[in-house]
Symmetry: C2
Subunit: 449 residues, 2 copies
């Protein structure tokens, strides 16, 4: 029996599953059990696993242990709806706007409609074919919006039950222009803070200026030493393992850049800058997806108030983070930057370095069997060849899947570019939702081959 | 009639003339009138001039309009005494410690004993010689410790009455080792703040990092562009008017540096640094007194809290100030740095510059007639040849005298190096006070020649 897509989606969206707000714990629990029932109704076995936080729902149908296994990940928790006054309709009373072909509700794009498209694609296949062409495991968590604090532990403890051949996640967006896309790479991340210390207290810049090193100047020189004037990273070893981009990748990125350089959602407009600039020798989308960065996220020291205070301050802090591209290692990047900073430290100041969090970069070959299968499924569902995207940001769970389950992830986003994810008036285009159901039917067949 | 030096000093010190505390206004008024009476008692005419703040006392004795005129500047106001619990005796109940040969009280060194030494030197000369060898004008203000807000106006309005040939001020310190000294140069000052602006709001460093200029990196590059790796200022024109130091000046500064490099008050110890560093090619005291600086006083932007926030921040601010050496002009220095910053601005960000306050550098030729006269008076009073000092900090009133009255100032400090000026347990060495009285007697004679 196939549940009605719209009715089921509206029901799903009425659970106010805000994972970060303690008052909604029961709503998350209720939603997990609602999902379990829904899975059972369409013919999957399902269980709700308690965690130290919100529960994880696992569902499966394994017609043949000899067949391939697909693991589908999603999340049923949502971002807070605040600021409520900016919503045109109540965030947990979903509104179907037929003229726009959209449903408005918190969680509609992120991640309930895409999750439900997976489920309904499977239900439809079971209805039409009587059985699935491969084994399927669903893994739906309730803590994605708070950083998945219990997912890695769950993956480690259940890694045998979650054993699979490939993972699919629909928690990214469509390409600019609402074009279908597969994301095949994401940048990793590493963070550090460093302190530059000088005199034991702030000094009078008249009485001491000229004879004592200034920690703010020293910190600025360290930052300036990280790049050349053309935006190239100068940290020894940092970029040395990176492979030159293949011609096909440069062509792909040029195609995405062309689409993203005009109109309301043009990158320059979204960024709010007069000019896009970056590393010499690379296009904007190569810089965003295929090149690492070292960014200064925060810098402070000395007098912060109105007007002037003529001091040589005692210390400065700098917060750095790097975006990394496979095969870079966050730990190695931290070591390389630390060595560079120590080698370039001006005289008369001392340096303290505090490493921060790390996340591995991710890359899968889009021309692999599974990559090509996913692209074929996308083309058959949407009627146009999908774009291939490199994501500049980091999705830590995908790196966790790689690290713990040793599996690649197909990232097939359904969210429309104007979906308002994490913002008021979040919405999903219904044609994306229905195409997503079709996509999942095609995907099962293509992946099973 | 010569007043008793110690009794008069103790009486003077009992006025709690804290100019920044409204509750002491009457004490300042009382003290001004007490000074007027004292001047009249020793044979000078005197008047108390009200200002919009605390009064100014002017006293004069002009035996011969054809003779030279000496203008003596001092202040009768004092710093707040707080923190009171750190005083070993009440700050306005002066304590004579005979074993140490010191009087402890707020204002003892800064500036009541030195002011009184001027007055008593003149009283003594009148007693011994019957008349002064030159005309004398005293100008004592009550707002020095709050930045002399009404002094420039007073100087302009009374510039004809204050017409003189030379000014003497005893509001600096003795040289290290309590050696007599004349300060013949002070650095000027200029301040500016600049803002570097990038995206219209903070951006996600994953989604935009690599394609957008980072204002913190850009600001750091601007700061780094101001100096080479050896501490030399790279701003075009900034140092081009500076004359090379004469061999006699380098010798003088080397002598002061030798005295200041060891012991409890050694510069490195006072600064609380492991190493003194500065512009290549100059000694520490040349850097402090005879070379300009560009210091970063404050720098801020981006995330300032605990941990990490992976953003490209929208803007950065930098607070700069320069110490300037004659013949540098603060206004020209501001223009030169602005031009340099604009020329070095990285792509993709904009720059806003806010000029701040300015103060001219000061220099007088210590080998001029008045300079040599003051040195001879110092040597005759203290029994050793005085040191010649360049002061790294700025004393704005001296630049005001030069600007408005067009007069040089002889800076002849009496404060002992351990006097605790502006700190608890401020004190004056009595031998400095008495030598100061002698100094003033000798000075009148030498200057009158």
């Amino acid at each position: 029996m196939i549940p009605d897509p719209i009715d089921t989606l509206l029901e799903y969206l009425r659970f106010p599953t805000v994972s970060t707000q303690v008052g909604h714990s029961d709503d998350l629990e209720d939603c997990a059990h609602w999902l379990k029932n829904l899975f059972e109704k369409i013919g999957l076995s399902a269980a709700v696993y308690p965690t130290a936080g919100h529960p994880i729902v696992v569902a499966r149908r394994a017609p043949d242990p000899q067949k391939k296994t697909l693991l589908i990940y999603g999340h049923y928790d949502v971002q807070p709806a605040e600021p409520l006054e900016q919503w045109n309709s109540p965030p947990f009373e979903p509104l179907l706007n037929e003229r726009e072909g959209k449903i408005y509700a918190r969680g509609s794009a992120d991640n309930k409609a895409p999750t439900l498209a997976h489920l309904l694609g499977i239900a439809s296949t079971l209805e039409e074919e009587g059985e699935l062409p491969l084994n399927v495991i669903f893994l739906l968590e309730g803590e994605e919006e708070i950083g998945s604090p219990h997912l890695e532990t769950f993956l480690r403890e259940h890694r045998h039950e979650l054993s699979a051949d490939i993972i699919v996640v629909s928690d990214t967006g469509m390409a600019p222009g609402n074009l279908p896309a597969m994301t095949y790479a994401m940048r990793g991340v590493a963070a550090m803070e460093f302190l530059v210390r000088g005199p034991s207290s702030d000094l009078h810049s008249g009485l001491f200026g000229g004879a004592v090193a200034n920690p703010l100047s020293a910190a600025a020189r360290l930052i300036a030493s990280l790049h050349d004037g053309e935006g190239r990273i100068l940290v020894p070893g940092f970029i040395e393992d990176l492979q030159p981009l293949d011609p096909w990748e440069r062509e792909l990125l040029a195609a995405v850049e062309k689409i993203s350089s005009t109109g309301e959602n043009a990158l320059q407009r979204l960024a709010g800058v007069r000019e896009l600039v970056g590393e010499a020798g690379f296009s904007t989308f190569e810089r965003l997806g295929a090149r690492p960065t070292i960014e200064v996220n925060g810098f402070g020291g000395g007098y912060q108030g109105e007007g002037t205070k003529t001091i040589i301050p005692r210390e400065a802090f700098v917060k750095l983070s790097f975006r990394l591209v496979a095969p870079q290692s966050p730990q190695r990047a931290l070591q390389q930057v630390e060595a560079h900073l120590r080698a370039h430290l001006p005289r008369g100041v001392s340096l303290e370095i505090k490493p921060g969090h790390c996340g591995d970069p991710y890359w899968m070959d889009p021309h692999s069997f599974y990559g090509k299968a996913a692209q074929q499924a996308l083309e058959e569902s949407f009627g146009v060849a999908p774009l291939l995207l490199r994501e500049g940001a980091s999705i830590p769970i995908v790196a966790s899947f790689k690290k713990i389950l040793h599996l690649d992830t197909l990232l097939l986003g359904l969210a429309n570019p104007d979906c308002g994810m994490h913002s008021p008036n979040e919405n999903i285009l219904l044609k994306n939702f229905f195409a997503g159901i079709e996509l999942n039917k095609h995907l099962l067949k293509k992946l099973a081959l």
